[in-house]
Each structure stands twice: as structure tokens, then as C-alpha cells.
């Protein structure tokens, strides 16, 4: 196949109906299991049929794949920890994982650190324009839409609107702007995220560029991806047609608009911090960080934090035990360790019981480091974290502050 951009849909009517945009992803997952391309599939399903309660699920029976059909926008579940902590880093099994761009990036970062066996994973990336926290979403449906959250059967983000479908088939839509003014917004990190299309996965799937058809636009991003989709198409699990230039253009425009939006937002919010004087900035962060109750939620939730003997534990001697709030070193050590590799997944801020805007701090630092070191976390498994490498060119620089000779690629 010469191109890598396709429109695809399931050849199975039932999957077409239960899945989003023609059910291509669901069909691929089913195919993968039926034809033993993988040992298991890691995807997300609704618990108790609630769109606000998603649970990652490991499926080995192709007959159960339909439970994972349909994109959930109110379920910011991290797939990374499951693979790393509970599936042994995929060392012993081949797994197909459906993932948001931040999940895929985190998996790649962990693969760099030999914590996940990337060769055993098939990453099915899902386009993402952002997720809402489940409890915020439930309140939003109830208060802003005036509907019973339990009646929700589908939700979609399109053109700056959130469109919900209720169980009687009717739809309601509201502008995301309008919802924001009522206090209902997507997660903070999502609003600043420019990685809408997960090109770092093996394939990137979404609805941008499908011209309103019941089809998924798939961009194949790796040889593994090509191989897989060829097999799926050959077996008749998936119907594919090359994307037209109009569709490609349509997708490009959607992506550009979304990325511009996100970048503007990021600029605006982080500029606020940048424009503070150092004292004001210190006051700002200290007033937030001093609320910390040392729950370790941020560290436990962060996909990049996996050290068995963590510096933050009291027995390491860096942060005294039993103090509420802990010494600021607790925060600074974590920040200095994650600094260049933060993938902006937002899990840290989600779990903080004291509502500390951690993603703002980490994004603020990461943005600077990405620029200085010309490094993109989570994109290329062969691009090593900038603090772990040095280049021969640097043997010839003559002042410590020069930043231009810092090419991270080896």
C-alpha cells in the first residue's frame, strides 16, 4: 500500500452500530484476538453501563470486545499504569492497547526506560480533543443540560460543541465556551494539549476527515501498523478506502484549529505565571504546595514515576516522614525527576485531594526544557531523555550557558 491515510469501517453491521464512526477500532480489536495477532486486548469499558464510570479491562475472549465499543469522553483513565504495574510491562504477552495520545506518549517514555516491552504492544491510538472528569461531567449533564446523567448513551465533541445523545434518541448540544462559563470544562491539561492525533502510536484513529460518514479516519504510523491493517483488510474484518485529498485537507484543518486553540490557551495560562515577578511566582506556588497532605497520589498516578526505591519515601532520608505538609523538597524532587519527560497526561492533578494545579507547574517547566533541549517527550522511542545523554559536540563548547549544542538524538 502506498498511502498511509484511510477511511475504514467494520464489515460487521452489529459492530458498525455499537462502535463509533463505523466501529473500525472495535473491529480491529476483535480481529486481533480472533486471529491471535495478540494475546489480549487492553481497552476501556463502562461499569454498570455508566458513561461516567470507566474501567480498563483486559480481554482475551473476542466475544467480549463489544463491551468496549464507543468512545468515552468522561473517562480519563490511564492505560499506562495497567501495562506497567499489572501486566508486567507486557514482557510476557502481546497486547493491543487502545490509547489516548498521552497514554501512547507515556508508554513510549517507559519503553525508553526499559519498563515496557514496546515490541509486544500494538498501540491503537485514538484522536483526543480532551476529556472531562466523570464527576464534573455528571454535574454538567444534570445542571447545564438539565438531563438525567443516567439517560446518556453517547457524547461527542465536534466543532467546539459538546453533543449528547439520550436514551430516547434525542440529542442536545451546547457550546464548550458556554459550558466553560458555567464552570464545566475539560481537564486543565487537556485544554493545553497539542497532541490531538497520536502519531506516535502504531495507528491513529479518529473521526476528523471522515466527511460526516460513519467511518474512522486511520493514519498508519508504523510498519507494524501497515502489517496489521493489511491483514485485517485481507481477512475482511475491516473495509478500507484511501482517503481523498479533500478528506485529508479537512482533517488537517480540524487538527490545525484544535492545536492552535490549545497552544493559545497554553500560552495564555502559562504566560500569567511567566509575567509574575519571581517573588509573586514563589508566593503563588507556595500557597498551593503548602496544602499538600503527602498522599503520594501524584507520584503513584504519574506514568513516569516507577522507581522501586523512591526518593520521596522517608527511609531515603531526603524528605522527613510524618510531616503535613511535607518539606517542599517532596515537590521539588518529583518535579526535577519528571521535568523533561512529562507527557501532560494530567493524572497527577486529577488525584490531588488538595486541588494543587500540578499540571501547570510541570507543563511550565517541561515547555522550557522541550525548547532548550529540542526534545519531544513520548514521540520517538529512540530519542533518549536529554539528561541521560551527552554528545561529542558538547566537548567543544566554551561556556556553560550555551544551549544550542544540545542535540538529543544519538
Amino acid at each position: 500500500m502506498k498511502t498511509n491515510l484511510y477511511l475504514a469501517w467494520s464489515s460487521d453491521r452489529k459492530i458498525q452500530e455499537t462502535g463509533n464512526s463505523g466501529g473500525a477500532v472495535t473491529a480491529l480489536l476483535k480481529f486481533a484476538l480472533e486471529h491471535k495477532k495478540v494475546d489480549a486486548v487492553l481497552a476501556v469499558k463502562k461499569r454498570n453501563n455508566s458513561r461516567f464510570d470507566a474501567v480498563p479491562t483486559l480481554i482475551t475472549d473476542p466475544g467480549l470486545i463489544h463491551e468496549t465499543a464507543g468512545t468515552l469522553h468522561f473517562a480519563p483513565v490511564s492505560m499506562v499504569k495497567i501495562v506497567k504495574n499489572y501486566l508486567d510491562g507486557a514482557r510476557n504477552m502481546k497486547i493491543a492497547v487502545t490509547c489516548k495520545p498521552c497514554d501512547a506518549r507515556a508508554i513510549i517514555e517507559l519503553a525508553k526506560r526499559k519498563q515496557i516491552q514496546l515490541e509486544n504492544l500494538f498501540l491503537i491510538g485514538l484522536n483526543c480533543s480532551g476529556t472531562f472528569l466523570p464527576t464534573v461531567a455528571e454535574q454538567m449533564i444534570s445542571e447545564a443540560y438539565g438531563e438525567n446523567p443516567q439517560d446518556l448513551v453517547k457524547e461527542e465533541v465536534d466543532n467546539g460543541k459538546l453533543i449528547i445523545t439520550l436514551k430516547d434518541g434525542s440529542t442536545r448540544e451546547k457550546d464548550l465556551e458556554e459550558l466553560a462559563q458555567k464552570g464545566f470544562e475539560m481537564r486543565e491539561n487537556c485544554l493545553r494539549c497539542s497532541y490531538k492525533i497520536p502519531r506516535m502510536a502504531d495507528i491513529a484513529c479518529g473521526k476528523w476527515g471522515n466527511s460526516g460518514k460513519e467511518a474512522t479516519f486511520i493514519e498508519i504510523c508504523s510498519p507494524k501498523g501497515h502489517e496489521f491493517l493489511d491483514a485485517a483488510a485481507e481477512n475482511g474484518a475491516l473495509v478500507m478506502e484511501a482517503a481523498t485529498s479533500e478528506q485529508i485537507e479537512e482533517r488537517k484543518q480540524e487538527e490545525t484549529a484544535a492545536v492552535e486553540n490549545a497552544q493559545a490557551r497554553e500560552q495564555k495560562e502559562l504566560d500569567v505565571l511567566k509575567n509574575y515577578s519571581p517573588d509573586e511566582r514563589l508566593k503563588f506556588w507556595s500557597s498551593h504546595l503548602q496544602r499538600c497532605i503527602k498522599c503520594f497520589g501524584c507520584r503513584d498516578a504519574c506514568p513516569l514515576c516507577y522507581c522501586k526505591d523512591c526518593y520521596l519515601e522517608p527511609y531515603r532520608g531526603c524528605v522527613a516522614g510524618g510531616e503535613t505538609p511535607p518539606d517542599i523538597m517532596f515537590q521539588l524532587i518529583r518535579l526535577s525527576h519528571v521535568a523533561d519527560s512529562c507527557v501532560n497526561c494530567g493524572q497527577c492533578q486529577d488525584v490531588c485531594p488538595m486541588e494543587i494545579p500540578l499540571t501547570r507547574l510541570y507543563n511550565c517547566l517541561n515547555r522550557e526544557l522541550v525548547r532548550i533541549f529540542d526534545y519531544q517527550p513520548g514521540v520517538d522511542v529512540n530519542q533518549y531523555p536529554p539528561l541521560t545523554i551527552v554528545t561529542d559536540q558538547e566537548l567543544f563548547i566554551d561556556a556553560p550557558d550555551i544551549i544550542n549544542i544540545t542535540s538529543a538524538a544519538e
Binding site: L282, K283, S287, I333, S336, D340, L387, I403
Partner: protein, 145 residues
Amino acid sequence: MSNSFEPKILAFLCNWCSYAGADLAGVSRMQYPPNIRVVRFMCTGRIDPLFILKALTSGVDGVIIAGCHPSECHYGKGNLYTRRRILMTKKLLECIGIDPARLRLEWVAASEGPKFAQVIRDFTEETKKLGLNPLEALTRGEGIK
């Protein structure tokens, strides 16, 4: 910020170059301010950013790290790793609200006694202007209201 403020400065020096350079400055009777306390490392590459952060959150007003010039590191490239780490740490300090000028990296060879003295003079002067470390109040639990 009165004239009588004397900053506390930690100097992280590497055994083979800057520490020897400091020694040379000493035996050559070169004058430089007495504000520094020296911690000797075998190589600046051993310096964990944690040490710098710990210093700056424990009442130290400035941290100066002096290592070998590039291509002169006794262990090969240790000083180059340090350089990257310091770039990161300075950005971190900036993000959190500590003036990154409180951290400096310099390259001082074993023969550069005068340079060592000058570097210390410069850094002490600069840190004096920056004043008392604002984080000190924070870690005492008083917070900044």
C-alpha cells in the same frame, strides 16, 4: 537588604580541576570573600539536582558549581552531564519562583587560581544583591501569605 547582609554560599567543586584551582588560589594568597563553604566531589557529574535544591531550601543563598572545562573531565564527560542538569535546574528554579541566578555553573581548571578567586568574588557580589533566600521563610513553615 542592608549592606551587612552576608550571603551563605555553597561551592560544589570537583576534585581534579576546580578544587585544585581553589587550592592554587589559596597558596597564591589570592583574596576572595569568605562566604563560601566548599563541598568536594570527585566529579561534578556526581551532583544530583537534589543537592542543589536541598541547599537552596535549607537557607543557602547561592550555589556555585565549578567543574572541569569540556574535554578535560577526568572521567570523560561527567562535566557535560552536569551542564545539562544545571540548565534543567535553573529552569526549575525559575518556574518555582527562585531567581535562577542563585545557581551558577563555571569551568575552572586546576591551573586557574585567579579565575577561581574572580568567580567567587563575582558570585558573592551577585548573591549579595539578590538578598536573603525567600524559600527560607517557606520551609520554616511560615509560608508566604
